[in-house]
């Protein structure tokens, strides 16, 4: 099985695009290593801006670059861009509608044992309540490639969250990707699992295990949190039971988004799997996932119990 870190798929794609288009810039916050932007910075120094450890300034600088027709990708740890510079993202980018892509890497619990200071598990809730930003969480490397190509063409402000480590490929290149359109990866009428990011892979594994027990489960990859694919959510609800899985707090993320749609349009039983409203258990991300049941078995268990 092929694996790749989304951040590496992102940076190799961005570098290739930026070689062809001088308006594509990348900025870093002393994060060129963690983002894997070293090659970009060396190859295209005129299209790279180092902002130092100053996320607020980085977002403002990007808004200023965008004002001059540059298309900046502001890159750094998701935990800092989604909190330290939240006001700059809100005012300078979203409210001002500046064409800036905020790329939060090492999101979720990627930084596992570094603790909650370095976890980004509230970012989706925060930005879902910030009008004017598209929001994406790619599932794997190939989808990140397709997403990055879309972002380079789009003129909409966006927030992207990706993880740190290598994740198994869900897709082959070229991955199918249309913004705001969920990918239905598996068909089944007994229940539906809606997942995003790294959890898509685990959701597929859960569905395979359940199929062996005779339980047919649909699986959706909800890579775009805004604009939200409400039609896919309503379709998933036809099964009568929807489980959402995300590397995010159980409040305000993918589960919240799905619940907002279903509670108003088609009340359906749900189970929201994610990180609890409590201080996180720490360990590497696989250990954190295992602790909270964010695994194929944990997801399968939720389907068995709830349907």
């Amino acid at each position: 099985m092929k694996t790749e870190a989304a951040r590496m798929a992102f940076t190799r794609t961005l570098l290739a695009l930026a070689r062809e288009d001088q308006t594509i810039f990348a900025t870093a916050t002393d994060s060129r290593g963690s983002v894997t932007l070293n090659e970009f910075a060396d190859a295209l120094p005129a299209q790279f801006v180092e902002c130092g450890i100053a996320e607020q300034n980085a977002i403002g600088i990007a808004a200023g670059l965008a004002n001059a027709g540059i298309r900046p990708f502001v890159c750094g740890p998701a935990c800092f861009f989604s909190m330290r510079s939240a006001e700059q993202v809100k005012v300078d980018i979203a409210y001002s509608h500046m064409n800036v892509k905020v790329i939060g890497v090492s999101g979720g619990v990627s930084y596992g044992a570094l603790g909650m200071s370095h976890h980004a598990t509230q970012d989706i809730a925060l930005f879902r309540a910030t009008p004017g930003l598209e929001i994406f969480i790619p599932a794997d490397g190939p989808q990140t490639v397709a997403l990055t190509k879309y972002l380079a063409k789009s003129s909409e402000p966006a927030y992207v969250r990706m993880g740190r480590g290598a994740v198994p490929n869900v897709y082959e290149e070229p991955a199918p990707f249309a913004p705001g359109k969920a990918n239905k990866l598996r068909e089944g009428s007994d229940a539906a699992i809606i997942a995003c990011g790294e959890m898509v892979y685990h959701a597929l594994k859960a569905a395979q295990a359940l199929a062996e027990e005779g339980i047919a489960v649909s699986v959706y990859d909800m890579h775009t949190l805004r604009p939200l694919d409400e039609a896919a959510i309503l379709e998933a609800a036809e099964t009568g039971f929807v489980v959402t899985v995300e590397e995010h707090n159980i409040h305000g993320g993918l589960g919240g988004a799905v619940a907002e749609v279903l509670s108003q349009e088609k009340p359906t039983r749900m189970r929201i799997l994610g990180l609890p409203d409590a201080k996180h258990f720490t360990g590497n991300s696989a250990e954190v996932f295992a602790h909270y049941g964010l695994t194929a078995e944990g997801i399968a268990q939720a389907v068995r119990k709830g349907r």
Partner: protein, 274 residues
């Protein structure tokens, strides 16, 4: 344009601004008055802009980082022809694009400002863009003195010096007051010029309510290789006898009587749009 004419124009814009505030029954009187000679000097004598083509790529950039001084800014933009002057009558009315902080749906406004401490970072980005794209436009950011307590101002100050942005001007409306009182009592700034110098900026001071002093500054070549900081010493509420140097006029609204008193003090008959 000479300083005497600029002074006359600045007072007309003061009349526009106090009228807007009076009619809307909301606004930031003190800061708008202190900033108006700076805004007028920039928009009538310094900036290269095309009001009929607000997105002209070569335009000089201006950011009102102290976004609450919006009334004077909007009056200047309207008078320069960025949008019809009659629209000033909609200031802060339901649904208007002319609201209590600069909104970039208004022609001439580059980005939405108002959350303090954001403007200089955006200006640094604009100035880096000019360098990278080999454009000759300059970027001007007007900040308040109370605003200087925002840490992000100093992040931007470091970046401006790091990138040797000699196409960037940070202007500080140094009226010495903020909403709670004197800046030196709330969060002391002095020795303020030394702080900017220590951050690697070319620092100068000017009489910020005197267009001649401001013109002289902008007409004098500044050193290359460093961003420029102008500490413009001003009087909060400048031009309104009842408001000058009074902290309670930060966002107090003039009465009908005070409006007439303001017109008299400013030497204007009234406004041509209300």
């Amino acid at each position: 344009m000479d300083a005497t004419t600029l002074q006359t124009i600045a007072n007309q814009r003061r009349a526009d601004a106090v009228t807007m505030i009076h009619r809307a029954n909301t606004g930031h009187t003190g800061g708008s008055m202190s900033s108006l000679d700076i805004l007028t000097t920039l928009y009538y004598a310094v900036l290269s802009v095309r009001p009929q083509e607000p997105h002209w790529p070569e335009r000089d950039r201006f950011l009102l980082s102290k976004g609450h001084s919006v009334e004077g800014y909007l009056a200047v933009l309207a008078d320069r022809g960025f949008f019809p002057k009659a629209e000033l009558a909609t200031f802060s009315m339901a649904g208007s694009r002319l609201i209590g902080h600069p909104n970039n749906q208004t022609p001439g406004v580059e980005v939405c400002t108002g959350a303090l401490g954001h403007g200089l970072s955006v200006g640094v980005g604009m100035a880096i863009a000019a360098k990278r794209l080999q454009k000759s436009y300059r970027t001007f950011v007007l900040m308040g003195d109370g605003e200087q307590a925002e840490g992000s101002v100093w992040e931007a100050a470091m970046a401006g010096a790091n990138y040797q942005l000699d196409n960037l001007y940070a202007i500080i409306d140094r009226n010495g007051l903020q909403i709670s009182g004197a800046t030196e009592d709330v969060m002391a700034l002095e020795d303020f010029a030394d702080k900017w110098r220590a951050f690697g900026w070319d620092v100068a001071e000017a009489a910020g309510n005197d267009p001649q002093s401001l013109l002289t500054y902008f007409e004098t070549p500044r050193p290359a290789g460093k961003p420029h900081c102008l500490i413009a010493r001003t009087i909060k509420g400048k031009g309104l006898p009842f408001a000058e140097n009074r902290k309670d006029w930060h966002h107090k609204v003039p009465s009908a009587e005070q409006l007439l008193e303001a017109y008299a003090a400013l030497g204007v008959k009234g406004v041509d749009w209300a």
